[in-house]
Structure formats: structure tokens, C-alpha cells
Symmetry: C2
Subunit: 239 residues, 2 copies
DNA sequence: CCTTTTATAGTCGAGATGACTCTAAAAGGG
DNA sequence: CCCTTTTAGAGTCATCTCGACTATAAAAGG
């Protein structure tokens, strides 16, 4: 950024794109909006929009998230920058650089078709067909990142409501990783990680359950997981 | 990115900033350029520059890296997107969104003061004083990221020449993490990780060494490290 | 020749991990 | 009302890993 002047650069449009993930009925879901205009009219796309002149990308992402989901309290949930997509041809109309974010939601309030009047909906991750622009790749990158972060961070609690059972927490791992985990071993690992979860003083969940009622836990104060909760079954295949 | 038109957005300048790291004489060094103009004239800054109209950020980063370091073959070295910095006030002159990258170099050819005629130099990471703009934060983020990646990836070989000893590889970890590692245990871990390193057919290093000559290794084909090489001494302090 | 230095092999005990079994406590159906 | 089903949670056990440590080999330097 040495010695440039105001006319040495080409102006770009800067947008944010959001990969908003949640877990519904044991399956990973992603928030998508249906495009009403060309290009990609009728296609599904990740929600997003322009960064305003006085906003950072993070601020813009949080604003768009509130607009698209209709959530009033968007301040507490997990929002993290994923990466920036800047290929010259990624938007056929003009030069758009997009800063992508991942967001994780506990339960799934049905979106109320946000500010741009397009339809917004939760769709299962696996059947999120071809998306507009390069959003397939952004979504896949988001999934990879979240999966990797489950190993080293306490991120999984971001998918859970304020109070949750260890079974629900395990289902987060199983859903995102797409594999089954041994319940006693998972429980042992989680409880042995200081600050991951802490028990709710004197409560157990009764009504909904089919079996023995499970103890309730809250998210702990730690953010990093030491030691990590490594995902198995990558045997014999580096990469 | 729903239904916008050409005039619904404010144009931004988009730049790349590079945190180029290497290891010199057992210490982490970073490539810095001295600014010749206001703002921050006389301050050191990360190398970088504008993304051209037909470039992706990755392409721009690689071009700037070649210009600033004078390296002819910049195609093979490790370049990775770090994150994007978009705070409204980060450049006092105008609205600049910067995509930051990390780059790792094996040896340290002295830079030949790149395209912008500013002085470029390797400076020790620890004494890289207050930098221009928000580059202190970018550099710190780059250090954090590289340190974390050493645990889960074969990235450390990017700091090493094509053929290296396990002692050199260990020094990469010790330098970036700032801690000492047990040599036999490090060796055991590295050799037990399939695809991390592979021995050079029939060679040993003689002349330079003070002690017993060490065997030479090349970077293997794996990129991920399974199981990870965890850094110790985070005992008792989550986060 | 002896000390210093670095590489490499090997040992040993504590702790983590994966696979597994067993019991407790609920719902549901006959 | 009993019996099956279902889920939570405790516990066991062999194996593997990891950190700490010792020992040996092969060079340089005095």
C-alpha cells in the first residue's frame, strides 16, 4: 500500500455473504434465499448484501443476518469471518469482492423472508442444490471450516439452545461430521474438558424424552478445547 | 446480494497486505517496507498494494510478493489467505478493504527494495515496532494462524529448504511457538506421521555440523497431519 | 586424546483412547 | 400392570500415545 493516489485504483463493490447453519431434526440446514432477478433468477443463494460506507464487513454481516432471519437479538450468536472471494468473474455484472461469514444458530426459527422481499428458507445442507454465483463453494468451505473447528473449539455449543443435554451436543458433532460417535466416550471427553460445559444446578429433562431423563448443561467459559476432540475414521487417508 | 443495481453501493478500494515470514538465525523474521509518504511516512508497513481490475486477490498477492521480494519463482511457495480487514477508519484517506495473506519462505534472500522504490527489509518479528495502519494486528493474527497451523498441517516444511534435517524442522516449531521441544520425542512424532517427511535416498550432512551428521529429509506428500502435533505447555490455561 | 556437541535409538510409567458391558430411569403397548 | 423399548450414564479393560529420561554414535575443537 505504498504511495497510491486516489486515482490509482479501480473501485470494487464489496459485499458480505452468509453461510448460516443450524441443526434441524438431526440434519444440517442452511439458510437460503431465492433470487428474484437475473442473474440466477429462481436459484437459491446465500443471504448477503452490500457493505455500507460506514460499516465494517462484520457489522454488515450482522445487519444482514438480522434482516434475513428476522431475529431481534442477533448480537449474541456466533458469527465468524470465513474468507474473501474475489475471482474476477464471480459476478457476471460487475466486479464484486465478497467477504463470507459463517453463522451458527441454535434452534431454527422460520425466517420471515427478509428485507429484500425474496423468499428465505431453511434447506437441508445435503439437498442445497446448485446455488447462484460461487455460493456452492462458499457453503462447502463453511462446512469444512465448521467441521474442523469442532475439534479444537467449544463451537458446538453455538448450535445448542442455552440449556442442552450431552446427547444434543453429541448430535451436533455427529451431524456436522456425518459419523456416529460412541456415547460414553464422547461424554467422558466433554466432561474432562475444563470449561466446555457446566451443569445446570438442579435440573433434569423429563417430558420430551423417550428414555431416562438427561442432565442439562450450559456452555462453559472456555472457547478453546485443550486437548482437542479429534474426529476418528480418517485412518489411512492423509489429506 | 439480492437485486442490487449499479448505483446502490459505495465503491471501495481493495488491497492486499502480505505477512511474509521466514526464519533467520533461529528467529522469526517478517518482510517489511518503509513508507515514504504520508500517512505513516517513515513507518514500517507490511508489503502490499492494490488489486488490479482483472486480478483475484490471490493473484495480486502473488504479484506483489514477487515485486517486493525480487524472487523470480514465487509460484511454488506457500501463500494463504488470512482474513479481510474492513474497519471504516483503518486508512485515514479513504475507504480501503484489505485482504491479508500469509506467505512462508524457506531461506531469506535479502529483498531488493521492490517496485515502489521504498526500502524493503527483513526485521525480527519481536522487534517489528509499531507498524503503519492496522498492520500490527494483521501481523499478530498471521503469527497466531501459523502457530495453530503447525499443529494440524505439514506447513512447517514451507519454512525449510528443499532438503532439511529434522533438527531444522524442529527449530521451525520452536521458533514459531517460542518454546523448546524434546528432540527424541519430536523425531518420533514426525517420523510416525505418514507423508510428513521422507528421507533423501542416500545422504547425510557433514561439513557444517558441530556434532554427528544428521540425515536429510524432503517434504512429504501429505498436507494434513493426522494425528496432530500438539504444542504443550498450555496446561491450566484454557484460551 | 579428551571434551563438547549434536543425532539417533531406546526405555518406562502415566494418562488418554476406543470398544465394550452394565445399570438406571423414563415411555409405550399389550 | 408388567414387560419391552429407549436413552442416560457409570464403569471396565487393553492398547496406544506422550512426556521424561538415559544411552550410544559420530562429528568438531582444543
Amino acid at each position: 500500500m505504498q504511495g497510491y493516489d486516489k486515482y490509482a485504483f479501480e473501485p470494487f463493490a464489496v459485499t458480505v455473504d452468509l453461510a448460516v447453519l443450524t441443526i434441524r431434526a438431526g440434519a444440517l440446514h442452511v439458510l437460503l434465499v431465492e433470487r428474484g432477478q437475473e442473474p440466477y433468477a429462481g436459484h437459491w443463494a446465500l443471504p448477503g448484501g452490500f457493505v455500507l460506507p460506514d460499516e465494517s464487513a462484520e457489522t454488515a454481516a450482522r445487519r444482514e443476518l438480522a434482516e434475513e432471519t428476522g431475529l431481534s437479538d442477533v448480537s449474541g450468536l456466533h458469527l465468524e469471518q470465513l474468507r474473501t472471494y474475489s475471482e474476477p468473474g464471480r459476478d457476471p455484472r460487475m466486479r464484486v469482492v465478497s467477504v463470507a461469514f459463517t453463522a451458527l444458530l441454535p434452534d431454527a426459527p422460520e425466517p420471515r423472508g427478509g428485507g429484500d422481499a425474496a423468499e428465505a428458507r431453511w434447506l437441508p445442507y445435503d439437498s442445497a442444490g446448485p446455488l447462484a454465483f460461487d455460493h456452492d463453494r462458499i457453503l462447502a468451505d463453511a462446512h469444512d471450516r465448521i467441521g474442523a473447528q469442532l475439534e479444537n473449539s467449544c463451537l458446538a455449543t453455538a448450535f445448542c439452545p442455552p440449556e442442552f443435554t450431552l446427547g444434543e451436543l453429541q448430535q451436533v458433532y455427529e451431524t456436522v461430521w456425518g459419523i456416529a460417535l460412541d456415547r460414553p466416550n464422547f461424554r467422558r471427553k466433554v466432561l474432562a474438558s475444563p470449561g466446555f460445559v457446566e451443569p445446570v444446578p438442579g435440573a433434569a429433562r423429563l417430558t420430551g424424552g423417550r428414555g431416562k431423563p438427561a442432565a442439562l448443561y450450559r456452555a462453559g467459559t472456555a472457547t478453546a478445547l485443550q486437548p482437542p476432540l479429534l474426529r476418528p475414521s480418517r485412518e489411512g487417508r492423509p489429506e
